[in-house]
Symmetry: C2
Subunit: 281 residues, 2 copies
């Protein structure tokens, strides 16, 4: 199956596209969104930021709700937005709950049945999708950033800490920082890894810091003080882990802001600027 352009929209002098392809990692067709700035359309190699969204999100969520495109266009940066899980895998119960299965891939490679065959989002967002988009468009593999929201923030932190050579820059909005300590993470990890705790620490930003993983750049994180999921996100654990690990982070706490994209859009310009600086865009 070759790639199929489902939609194409002019936007800020560039192009927003939604593209379906057969994913080798996921074993099913997958859809992603991309914003190509004018420079990329003209054949210039541009830096790229990958956008990971949270539970229940799709390839549209971050692109529609974060208001990131005008700033990406300003800096001549491309954006790539994957879905949050494989879809229509045929796994029984896949669509039953919001926090496991479809819309809830947690950006991990499942090892336990029935998930192991398809739920391989770590490989998809970390390897297959960057390689695919860099083969299709004028994107610079040496200048890749990653940002995520909530579950996607966790995904971005995991990618950056375990695979620092893949990503030059990283940031997150209200990330799940310490998943192995809270219900969302325990439920997902228990299902995807079949109760094998050896896998857990590879998918937990706080545990990764404790085990020696680092990213060479400063990690920018924004967190609202009125976030309704604050107790599940545990930014305190990540801050402590980073302090002990001497990982450079800039954790900003914003008075009154909640977990929504109304919060994300308020601070997105700072994030794109953070990546632009690190990616020399």
């Amino acid at each position: 199956m070759s790639t199929e352009i489902l939609a194409r929209h002019e936007c800020f002098g560039g192009s927003v596209r939604f593209i379906r392809h057969h994913s080798e990692s996921l074993g099913v067709p997958a859809t992603f969104g991309v914003f190509l700035p004018e420079q990329a359309l003209k054949g210039e190699k541009v830096p790229v930021i990958h956008l990971l969204s949270g539970l229940t999100g799709t390839q549209e969520t971050f692109l529609i709700k974060a208001n990131a495109i005008r700033f990406a266009a300003d800096h001549g940066i491309a954006l790539v937005a994957p879905d949050t899980s494989p879809r229509h895998t045929g796994i029984k119960g896949e669509d039953d709950v919001y926090d496991l299965g479809s819309g809830a891939g947690f950006y991990v490679d499942a090892t336990a049945e029935p998930w192991a065959k398809h739920y391989r989002m770590e490989s998809y967002v970390g390897e297959e999708l960057p390689a695919l988009t860099e083969s299709l468009f004028h994107l610079d593999a040496e200048r890749r950033g990653i940002v995520g929201h909530s579950m996607g923030g966790m995904g971005a932190l995991i990618q950056a800490l375990r695979f620092p050579h893949r990503w030059k820059t990283v940031s997150a909005f209200a990330p799940i920082c310490f998943p192995s300590s809270i219900a969302w993470g325990q439920k997902a990890f228990d299902a995807y890894f079949g109760g094998d705790p050896a896998h857990w620490m590879k998918c937990d930003p706080t545990m990764l810091l404790r085990s020696g993983c680092r990213h060479p750049s400063t990690i920018l994180i924004d967190q609202g003080t009125q976030d309704q999921y604050l107790a599940d996100l545990r930014p305190d654990a990540l801050e402590e882990g980073a302090r002990e690990a001497k990982q450079s982070i800039e954790m900003r706490h914003h008075q009154g802001y909640d977990h929504s994209y109304w919060f994300v859009q308020t601070f997105i310009a700072d994030h794109i600027r953070h990546h632009a600086k690190g990616l020399r865009a």
Copy 2:
């Protein structure tokens, strides 16, 4: 029934809220969205722009997809976003098609059964909602603007041309300019007015210009050249009507842009600036 705040989100130093109230015009509960800039929260009277969205839209659509809030916050302007129709009126067939009934109020006051009792969006967006929001918040009734997209662009133009005293500034993205000449408008007007053509010209921007209606300001309109509905929108008819009527308009045609909010977000900053200037914000 008093007003009920369904949701409240900090955003750009101000507040996005979704509020339900009993609408006298519509005879059912109605929900609207509002953005209040920091100045309004502090008790300063601020100018306000009303946002009308298109077919299938809700009170969320324009606020989520147009990326307008950062610019409204920059200028200290409030935003008010109504739904596109009454909901749950009990009228048979109300939810059956996308272009009539729910999601398709066309911003008119229906006169024919079964619609006449509830489908009174002209009164709702033109009178009830401005009065209600100005009683609830620190909004300046003397500094009101209106902008819309597609069916909402038509609504904004109708409001501005028929009731120029209500709105100091007006703009539109890809508005339906000549509804009585195309299938969408004919179907809706036929249903809502029961075949009485006397009502049609009151709800048609091009016909209003021909019949002597004017707005004292310059009307800003953005239109994409690749809009998939271009033949139904008839910007050419409005431009000709404005020229003959000596109505000042600035109609901009954007190469390659389509009908979507990817188009709207690209040019929203110019619209907020246009209103800010006219509203002295």
